[in-house]
């Protein structure tokens, strides 16, 4: 306790010292004006000027500008925001830049009032509040989430201006929560139970049927995202994480789990996101996001400074587990070379890959393709279209092509 008192005194002293210095440094240090002032300029030699005050909740440098791009107006009913993959490093997506898709806006939820109800074919239906949920056995796992609409616009024409728009409906976080299997065992799932229905507390009516086998396997009831509570856009204060499965089934703002003995065929179970084959038949209960990779640098909208060394970087992931291999082609698919997989390589997580390349200054096409632990190889776009037909829309996990022009400018192309 004495050390705590000491630090308290230190803090007071610091505060006094800061106030004095702040006055000397002038209005530019006033907290409210700091960002806008520093967004334009910074000292030539920051070692010659006293630094800024600390702040209770950190913000990135005002020089950092990466933001989500939204499809449609931000106040629309149905909104999707793409993650700026081209601006990020490593495998973790900053929570503030995690992709988002909503169909009923982002709800305001007071965690003190939030409840999880588990009922149906269970011996002991239960209501849990957030404090109680956080007391249960917890795990942390790094998992990607990907919308099944990711890259849908690219099936038939190369329309996206950059990798953010073409591939930004995937993101990866460390998620912390209670294994759903722990909760299901505690409430006593009855032998007839084969499915559950998970429901969010928002206005979109996102209720999803999930088979019991998956629920008992690796699903999380998550209250942590990258070390803090999930952002409101990502399900605050509680959401499902269903590793490897389409984003929408990872129900945000989770408030209810009903254990049942057949799928409930809710709107979003099928009719809400139609994947329709060439025979007009729709896919029932589509779930897994198949293996996919994309080069994030160099990518469309960027420009190589000139011939010479380039580290080709990208992301790969698979809804069936671990990425085993990523290959890169720098000649439009004529030849392929193994890229280096950056550790950690985790199941159902973004995996970073790198490939060293010397650009000779000629026009060429860059591609990546990945292989997952099942041996499945990421397909070419034409191969997917051959089986899915002219109305192909969702679940586009095909190889992406970036053309490097002679002037170094990178373009989105079909190759």
């Amino acid at each position: 306790m004495s050390s705590s008192d000491d630090s308290s005194n230190d803090t007071s002293a610091d505060r006094r010292r800061f106030l004095k210095q702040g006055t000397m440094l002038g209005a530019a240090l006033a907290a409210g004006q700091l960002s806008s002032a520093r967004a334009q300029t910074a000292p030539v030699d920051p070692s010659k000027i006293l630094g800024n005050p600390v702040r209770p909740y950190g913000e990135r440098s005002p020089f950092e500008k990466a933001v989500r791009i939204h499809k449609g107006k931000t106040d629309e009913v149905a909104v999707g925001g793409w993650t700026p993959l081209q601006d990020l490093h490593g495998i973790i997506t900053p929570s503030a830049l995690h992709y988002e898709v909503h169909r009923g806006g982002v709800p305001d939820i007071d965690p003190a009032k939030h409840r999880l109800l588990i009922h149906g074919l269970v011996d002991r239906p239960v209501v849990l509040d957030m404090d109680e949920i956080r007391r249960l056995p917890s795990v942390s796992r790094i998992h990607f989430l990907e919308c099944q609409g990711n890259t849908f616009m690219e099936f038939h024409k190369p329309v996206s201006k950059n990798v953010q728009v073409s591939h930004g409906w995937t993101s990866c976080s460390e998620w912390t929560g209670v294994p759903l299997s722990v909760l299901l065992r505690e409430v006593g799932v009855q032998s007839a139970a084969t499915w559950l229905v998970a429901e969010g507390a928002d206005a979109s009516g996102n209720e999803r049927s999930i088979p019991m086998e998956k629920a008992m396997d690796d699903v999380l009831v998550a209250y942590g995202q990258n070390g803090e509570a999930p952002r409101p856009e990502n399900g605050y204060p509680l959401r499902l994480i269903v590793p490897g499965w389409t984003g929408n089934i990872n129900v945000k703002w989770l408030r209810r789990i009903k254990v049942v003995d057949r799928p409930y065929q809710t709107r979003m179970d099928g009719t809400g996101q139609p994947a329709i084959g060439p025979d007009g038949k729709a896919w029932q209960h589509s779930s897994v996001m198949e293996a996919k990779s994309v080069i994030t640098s160099p990518s469309a909208g960027q420009r190589l400074a000139g011939p010479g060394y380039v580290e080709i970087r990208g992301l790969a992931w698979s809804g069936r587990g671990v990425v085993r291999r990523v290959e890169v082609s720098t000649d439009g698919g004529e030849s392929w070379a193994d890229a280096v997989l950056q550790e950690p390589v985790l199941p159902y997580a973004h995996t970073r890959f790198r490939h060293e390349w010397q650009w000779g200054g000629r026009e060429t096409v860059l591609q990546s393709r990945c292989t997952d632990e099942t041996g499945y190889v990421q397909p070419r776009r034409v191969d997917l279209l051959a089986v899915r037909g002219p109305a192909a829309r969702w679940f586009n996990n095909s190889i992406q092509s970036w053309k490097v022009a002679k002037d170094g400018v990178v373009h989105n192309v079909h190759a």
């Binding site: 011996d123 408030r255 009719t271 729709a282 896919w283 029932q284 499945y376 191969d383 997917l384 002219p390």
Partner: protein, 195 residues
């Protein structure tokens, strides 16, 4: 019925645990009561509590294809049209064909073409899905505030606009469950990995 159940449950809750099974034998209704009140904390971790009947009823609104949980009430096409034009048409269009959000009407015969138009009539597999979704989410500006009669009415109107029920029909739980949606057999298991 519900209030009676609640009363019985409260009596049962006060009774010693060893009498619960005899109570169950006396009344079939008590199977619900037991589910509600025999539960408490999670046994291993000692957290949580049993939900009340009212708590479950307030959230347990999703209706599966067999109609379990469909409430009493009814609505006709004409009333549904009135509600739709007032509360839904600004987004979906008077005819339900405005593509701005989701086309609700038409599209039959388009699913196997290059430009499928998936609608309630051309695509949705079960009428219960429609009923349940309207109940939970509509109207947009006041989600989940239609009463059961209004939900039946709006559902009836959309089914009629899709030539699935006649203009003079009244929709209730029994009629809803007899509806065979045009695309009832239009679904197949997800074929992936397909290439």
């Amino acid at each position: 019925m519900l209030s009676m159940t609640t009363v019985l449950c409260r009596q049962r809750r006060a009774a010693p645990p060893n009498r619960a099974s005899s109570g169950l034998a006396l009344l079939g209704i008590m199977s619900i009561a037991l589910e509600v009140f025999a539960a408490g904390e999670l046994p291993t971790y000692g957290v949580g509590r049993a939900p009340t009947q009212a708590e479950i009823a307030a959230w347990d609104l999703t209706i599966p294809p067999d109609g379990e949980g469909l409430p009493a009430g009814s609505g006709n096409v004409a009333d549904g049209k009135t509600i739709f034009l007032e509360r839904c048409a600004s987004c979906h269009g008077d005819d339900g064909k405005d593509p701005k959000y989701y086309v609700l009407v038409g599209g039959r015969g388009t699913l196997a073409t290059a430009k499928p138009v998936p609608t309630v009539g051309s695509f949705w597999q079960y009428a219960t899905t429609l009923w349940s979704y309207i109940r939970r989410t509509k109207p947009l500006d006041e989600p989940g505030t239609f009463d059961s009669n209004q939900v039946y009415a709006v559902t009836a109107y959309l089914l009629h606009m899709n030539d699935i029920i006649a203009e003079d029909e009244v929709l209730d739980a029994e009629r809803l469950l007899k509806i065979e949606m045009p695309n009832r057999d239009g679904y197949v298991p997800d074929p992936r990995p397909d290439a």
